[in-house]
Symmetry: C2
Subunit: 446 residues, 2 copies
């Protein structure tokens, strides 16, 4: 077979042509002497008809074919009869009448049907196989396009991409949940965030973003916790105030959602999920205003609490949907004592910060805010938080030598992906999830 390969998705436009396809057998169905296979490649799935009389010498191979075998098919693209059209399939108006068949790679008998429902542990045990199911493939296509939309927008806004380091000399912001390792004669830690590095780089490029792995030693085995995840961070200087950051985040989110509309319509359809729409202006509430609403409209008394409970976030998103037709909601002005030492206090009320969370369909997906850019103020805050300026000298250096007013955001790619697609567990939106009990294989096996 010397012809160039075409992809499954291209077949619909090439009716009557003789073509060569290569791919995996997604499924096989036998109807007497005739066999049908769903051939899967990177573009999608197309039906192939195997009639022994049409296959010449390669007819003998048909009996061996099983799911996940990889084959090459030379055949004619035929339009299906009106009754045979499958409107659920992107290539449902055609099928390939095979003229020649070649086995490229064999596969062992599958432990279960591809795409079948399994409990999470079995699903993860067979991840390299399970990932091949169309619905699962869609998840990481969406993740890839979120990243591409994110980067594309920031690039257009004159941001420079940086690569933040992962090995750190101290736990980034104090606190637990940090992985420690032997570093030659010393100890090192795995970075929990690119926070300090992106801020340092505002002093160099003004506007920076990064896409990279961060690590959290989470001692919880829940549907929300991961030991490592991909953090999307941006940070920029010469802002007027924190509202510039919310504006930048809003437009980044808009660009992401528009890209998903353009590229991932079918991926969302497979998950029966709606691509989010960013309203012209995302509604904004101070946390104190949000608490008033919870009290008055939902009879939940959390007035004066320093943070929102998951239940409150859900109700506020309902409120936002009902009153502003928005899946997104900004909550601002979290109390100073609940935010990290670099968060800018509100000059009008230093007990509150110029920080914000972005909520989406019931949960927080992004955290951000304005940072302290004044060297003395930052040093004093480090002391106030019970930390030692000496331990932050590298970070402080950037502020000592001139830093503009600045701020930024961080958001977890996996969290965004699983919330966008309405998936139950964040681990299913993580390519190779690591948690308390698993690094690829179950740890208790060892």
């Amino acid at each position: 077979m010397s012809k160039n390969r075409i992809l499954a998705a291209e077949t619909a436009e090439k009716a009557e042509e003789e073509v060569v396809l290569q791919g995996w057998i997604n499924a096989r169905r036998d109807m007497g002497k005739i066999s049908f296979i769903d051939l899967r490649d990177r573009s999608g799935i197309v039906q192939v008809v195997l009639v022994p009389a049409e296959l010449g010498n390669s007819a003998d191979l048909v009996k061996d074919l099983r799911p996940e075998f990889i084959v090459e098919i030379r055949g004619i693209i035929q339009k299906r009869g009106a009754k045979q059209i499958n409107s659920e399939m992107l290539t449902g108006e055609v099928e390939i009448l095979a003229k020649e068949l070649k086995i490229i790679s064999q596969a062992e008998i599958l432990p279960f049907e591809l795409g079948s429902k399994q409990n999470l542990d079995v699903y993860l045990d067979y991840l390299p196989l399970n990932m091949r199911a169309e619905k699962n493939r869609a998840i990481f296509k969406v993740a890839a396009e979120i990243v591409e939309g994110y980067r594309g927008y920031l690039y257009s806004q004159d941001f420079t991409e940086i690569q933040a380091p992962k090995l750190t000399a101290a736990a980034t912001e104090g606190g637990a949940n940090v992985f420690k390792l032997d570093y030659f004669e010393h100890k090192a830690f795995l970075g929990q965030s690119p926070q300090f590095y992106k801020q340092i780089m505002v002093g160099v490029y003004e506007r920076v973003f990064t896409v990279g792995t961060v690590f959290r030693a989470e001692k919880h085995a829940t549907s929300r916790h991961l030991s490592e995840y991909v953090s999307l961070d941006f940070e920029f200087g010469f802002i007027k105030d924190y509202q510039d950051i919310m504006q930048m985040l809003q437009e980044t989110m808009r660009a992401i959602c528009l890209r998903l509309e353009e590229k991932c319509e079918n991926d969302f359809k497979l998950h029966a999920a709606e691509i989010p729409v960013v309203p012209k202006e995302i509604p904004v509430l101070k946390i104190s205003e949000a608490q008033e609403i919870l009290y008055k409209e939902y009879n939940k008394d959390c007035l004066g609490e320093p943070d929102l409970e998951p239940e409150h976030e859900k109700l506020l998103c309902e409120w936002s949907k009902k009153n502003h037709n928005s899946d997104f909601l900004f909550v601002t002005h979290y109390p100073t004592k609940k935010r990290p030492m670099y968060t800018m206090p509100d000059p009008e009320n230093p007990k509150e910060t110029l920080s914000f969370d972005l909520l989406f369909r019931g949960v927080e997906v992004t955290t951000g805010g304005q940072r302290i850019h004044d060297y003395e103020m930052l040093k004093n805050n480090i002391i106030k938080w019970g930390l030692k300026p000496e331990d932050f000298s590298y970070y402080l250096q950037a502020f000592k030598y001139g830093m503009p007013p600045e701020g930024g955001i961080g958001m977890g790619l996996e969290r965004l992906t699983y919330r966008f697609l309405g998936i139950d567990n964040i681990k299913q939106a993580t390519l190779f999830p690591r948690d308390l009990t698993r690094i690829d294989e179950r740890l208790n096996k060892n």
Copy 2:
């Protein structure tokens, strides 16, 4: 000052206009009562003239200004007289006559002049500051555009971007140089390469690439070694043979270099470096042919050696430049015993592999090759290499259930950057380099 800020690079086109600029004071020069400052922002540098009589109330601030102070300037863009034109500067035909001055942030007195030469340790001690010098900023602009060019090309070739995990359950390919950490009740390792994950994902998307940090516990303090670096990897299936991979790499490299030409002309100029040109076809030598050339033309006897010495790589690149006018050279067919267990042996001579290195101006910048895609062959090879298939069951699963002929490459971003720009030490092309003696701060301080 209510006007919107413009950038330094925009001034050349706006002569005679009144504008607002914000940025760092890159340098200050006093000529009697008149002061000149070079104002630096993310776009570049422009000269500002400070004449007390023109500055109104803000004239008093001039005496305080020092390098790295951040200021806002309202002023008129003036064309310079013919004698004052500075052709070395992108904005050298204009200057800003300041009408109003505001200090946004102060800076302490610098320990040295920005951009001055320092030994590497001092340079790294002051990295957050040193990075601001124009020549250093250029390095990571180039790195960002290499990544952008790399991704853009692969995206156009229907590759899917994946996020490979960094925490692994076993040292990827056996061997030393791996960082070990406490992982809750267990041990884990930091990934040395996304190799296994990208291969697994060929079974899902056919064509994948990734940009991510990898870790090497290198016990050498040289100009080439780093504890972590950014690896650019791609991997794809349904190849005819290893030459498809070399072709994909060649075109990726061409896209990168074309992008650098478009975006980084000035950055290369600052380093007095030439943007590489990828020839129509990069010359190819088998390692045995390369050794013949070294013997016959350079009187170096390394015939039959399993690998090339750095000196040999240099000479071969000279040869390639002289005979093919190419800065690049492929060397193929490295001996089987020198390559990892997953490397495809040449069926015509199983002592050699279908692998290759890409050399550039004297050093190897990329390694790649065709992989073994047959499950039984791969399992047997693992045993032959003295390893246990049980330790690779997760990886092997992808091959057990059908994998097409495939292969790919990996290359270090920092290595590419420093070789492209002709920088002495790879650490200067690493945003925050980690090595035996340093994680941001010198480790022997502790």
